[in-house]
C-alpha cells in the first residue's frame, strides 16, 4: 500500500500539469492582492470610508490572513477538482490502469492510494498558497504602511493553524466528488465536468432556496458550499458563490455534513471501481 501511495505522489510531482496548476494559483493570488491594492490606493469616488478601511485591513497583516484563506479556498477548490479528475481520468485514457492492476490486483488499494496522494497535494498546495499569500501580503502591507508584528502570538498561530485545517477540510469533499465522477465516467472530463457542474449548480440552488423561505431555505444547510462557508468565511474580495443572507450552519453541523459527503462519495467510488470491468485491448 505504501509503495502505491509513494508511487502516486511521485507521479503527480513529475506531471507538468501539477506545476501549471501551481502557477495558476500564484497568478490568481497575485491578481487578487494587487487588484485589491489598486482599488485601495485609488478608490473610486463613491466608495465609503468604511469599505475602504475594510479593504486595507484585508491587505495588511494580520487581517490579510482572512483574504489568504478565503482565496485559497476558492481557487483551491477549482484546482483540486482539476488535479483529481486529471490524476484519475488519465489512467483510463493512457491505459496505465491495466498495468497497475495487473501488478497489484487489489483495487481498493488503488483508489485509496490516489486519494491519499491527492490529500497530500491538497495539503502541500494549501501550504504553498499560504506562503504565496503571506509573501504578497508582506508587500501590500508595506505599501499601505508599516507591519506590526505584535499580532504574531502563540494564540494567533494556533488560530491560523485551525483555519488551515478547516480550509483543508473544505477541499476534501471536492476531491471525493471529482474522484467519484472520474471513476463513474472513466475520464478526466467527466470528473471535471461533474464536480465543477455540481459546484456551479449548487451555488445557483443555494441562492434560489435561500430566497424561497420556509423549509426550502433549510436545504442549503445540507449542501456543501454553505457548510464549507461556515468553516472558512469569505472576505469581501474572494469570490464566494455561496454567500447568503441567511446564517451559516454551525461548525459541528458543517463538519458532520462534510464528513458524510466524503464518506458517501468515497464509498461510491470504491464500489464502482471494485465492480466494474477494466476492458482490455
Amino acid at each position: 500500500m505504501m509503495s502505491l501511495i509513494k508511487g502516486e505522489i511521485s507521479k503527480i510531482f513529475k506531471r507538468r500539469m501539477t506545476w501549471i496548476l501551481l502557477g495558476v494559483m500564484i497568478v490568481y493570488f497575485t491578481i487578487i492582492f494587487f487588484a485589491t491594492y489598486g482599488v485601495a490606493s485609488s478608490p473610486p469616488g463613491q466608495m465609503s470610508a468604511e469599505i475602504l478601511t475594510q479593504i486595507k485591513i484585508s491587505l495588511q497583516l494580520p487581517g490579510a490572513f482572512d483574504t489568504i484563506f478565503s482565496t485559497a479556498r476558492t481557487i483551491g477548490t477549482l484546482l483540486i477538482i482539476i488535479l483529481t479528475a486529471s490524476v484519475i481520468g488519465s489512467e483510463y485514457s493512457w491505459g496505465s490502469i491495466r498495468q497497475v492492476l495487473t501488478k497489484k490486483g487489489i483495487r481498493y488499494q488503488y483508489v485509496v492510494s490516489k486519494l491519499v496522494a491527492l490529500l497530500f497535494y491538497a495539503t502541500a498546495g494549501l501550504f504553498a498558497a499560504i506562503l504565496v499569500g503571506f509573501g504578497l501580503s508582506l508587500v501590500t502591507s508595506s505599501l499601505l504602511g508599516s507591519i506590526e508584528w505584535s499580532f504574531l502570538t502563540p494564540g494567533f498561530i494556533g488560530e491560523t493553524a485551525g483555519t488551515f485545517g478547516w480550509t483543508l477540510l473544505g477541499l476534501l469533499p471536492y476531491i471525493a466528488l471529482a474522484a467519484f465522477f472520474s471513476f463513474l465516467g472513466r475520464s478526466a472530463i467527466s470528473g471535471i465536468g461533474g464536480a465543477l457542474g455540481l459546484y456551479v449548480i449548487e451555488a445557483v440552488l443555494v441562492s434560489i432556496f435561500t430566497s424561497s423561505g420556509g423549509w426550502l431555505a433549510k436545504i442549503p444547510d445540507y449542501l456543501l458550499g454553505p457548510n464549507i462557508d461556515a468553516l472558512v468565511p469569505a472576505t469581501l474580495f474572494a469570490h464566494n458563490p455561496f454567500l447568503t443572507s441567511g446564517a451559516p450552519p454551525s461548525i459541528p453541523h458543517a463538519i458532520i455534513v462534510i464528513t458524510i459527503y466524503c464518506i458517501v462519495l468515497i464509498s461510491a467510488s470504491l464500489v464502482i471501481f471494485q465492480k466494474r470491468d477494466i476492458l482490455v485491448g
Binding site: 491505459g95 490502469i97 495487473t102 477494466i278 482490455v280 485491448g281
Partner: protein, 306 residues
C-alpha cells in the same frame, strides 16, 4: 523446453456477456507449466476478454478461472505476484521515461531491484532509449517496454497480448526468439495473437477461438500433421497422375490443371521422384508444403482471413 503435466491456467465454462453480446462462450482451456500456449482467433473473437478474465480485470458472467490452482476471484494478488502481463494497448505514463515507468511498476510490484529494471531493458533492447519520454516512443518501442514490464518480477507465468504489434520484421523475430527463450527457461507463456505464422513458430500447443467459442485445441504438431502435401509438375502430367494414383504407398493423390498434389510424409518425398524417373517421367518442379495453422484455421472455420 520442459512441459510438465501441472496445470497453470484452467478455465471451466468461462463465459462473458456484455449485454446481449456473448464475447466468450463456455470456454474450457488448460495451459500446462512450461509450455508456450497460443491463443488464436480473429479480431473480436474474445481473446482479449479471456485474457482480461485470467488477469482479474474482467469479471466472468459464469464459469471459473484458476491460475496456479487458485481461483482468480479470491486469490488475485497471490496469482499476480507470479504473473507478468503485456496487455494489448501498452499503457504507460507518457510524461515519464521508459526507465522511470519501469521503476514505478517495479516499486508497486514489490521486491524488484533497480538492477532488474536495467536487466529487462537490456533484454528488450531499450537501454539506449530508456531515458526518452514514453510519449516519444514508436509503437514498436512501446511494445518492447510492455514486454519489459511483463518480465519485471521474473514471473513464472507470462501473458502476452499481440506482442509483435507494431514491430518491424527484425523486431518480430527478436520477440519470437525471446518467447522461445522464456519457454526454455521453464516459464509458462500464454500468447494471444491473430498472427498464425507467429504462433506456429513458437507455440507448443494452441487453441483456436472464434466468436467466443473454442474450435479446436491441441499440440501444434498434432494439429498440423493432418495435412502434408507435396506439389509436383512433371513432363507428363496425366501419365504421372495415373501412375501415382495406382500406388498404395501414397495416401492421397489429386491433380489440377498442371500440378499433382500428393499427401506424403516429408521424409518419403524422394521416393516420388525416383518412382517417376523409373517410368521415364521427369520433374519440372517439386515443392513440399507443410500444412500451416492458417490452412487449419481456414479449414476449420471457413474464414477467408484472420
Amino acid at each position: 523446453m520442459t512441459v510438465s503435466q501441472e496445470i497453470v491456467v484452467e478455465t471451466k465454462g468461462l463465459t462473458k456477456r456484455f449485454g446481449k453480446i456473448t464475447a466468450v462462450d463456455e470456454l474450457d482451456i488448460e495451459v500446462r507449466q512450461g509450455e508456450i500456449f497460443g491463443f488464436l482467433g480473429p479480431n473480436g473473437s474474445g481473446k482479449s476478454t479471456t485474457m482480461g478474465m485470467i488477469l482479474g480485470l474482467i469479471a466472468p458472467t459464469s464459469g471459473s478461472v484458476r491460475v496456479f490452482s487458485m481461483d482468480v476471484r479470491h486469490n488475485l494478488p497471490s496469482i499476480l505476484r507470479r504473473t507478468g502481463a503485456l496487455t494489448e494497448s501498452t499503457g504507460f505514463y507518457p510524461y515519464l521515461s521508459g526507465r522511470e515507468n519501469l521503476r514505478y511498476f517495479a516499486r508497486i510490484t514489490g521486491g524488484v531491484a533497480d538492477s532488474r529494471v536495467e536487466e529487462v531493458l537490456e533484454t528488450v533492447d531499450l537501454t539506449k532509449r530508456a531515458d526518452d519520454p514514453f510519449s516519444n516512443y514508436s509503437l514498436g518501442m512501446k511494445q518492447r517496454l510492455g514486454l519489459a514490464s511483463a518480465l519485471l518480477g521474473d514471473p513464472e507465468f507470462i501473458i502476452l497480448d499481440e506482442p509483435t504489434n507494431g514491430l518491424d520484421p527484425a523486431g518480430m523475430k527478436e520477440i519470437r526468439q525471446l518467447i522461445i527463450k522464456l519457454g526454455e527457461l521453464g516459464k509458462t507463456v500464454f500468447l494471444n495473437s491473430h498472427l498464425l505464422h507467429e504462433v506456429q513458430q513458437v507455440c507448443d500447443r494452441v487453441a483456436i477461438i472464434k466468436k467466443g467459442r473454442i474450435i479446436t485445441q491441441g499440440a501444434v504438431k498434432e494439429l498440423l500433421n493432418r495435412k502434408n502435401q507435396l506439389q509436383i509438375r512433371t513432363t507428363e502430367t496425366q501419365k504421372a497422375f495415373e501412375l501415382l494414383s495406382a500406388q498404395d504407398w501414397l495416401k492421397e493423390v489429386t491433380r489440377d490443371d498442371k500440378r499433382i498434389l500428393i499427401e506424403i510424409e516429408p521424409e518419403n518425398s524422394f521416393k516420388v521422384s525416383a518412382f517417376l524417373a523409373e517410368h521415364g517421367i521427369y520433374l519440372k518442379e517439386m515443392r513440399y508444403f507443410e500444412s500451416s495453422l492458417e490452412d487449419l484455421f481456414l479449414k476449420l472455420t471457413g474464414e477467408e482471413t484472420l
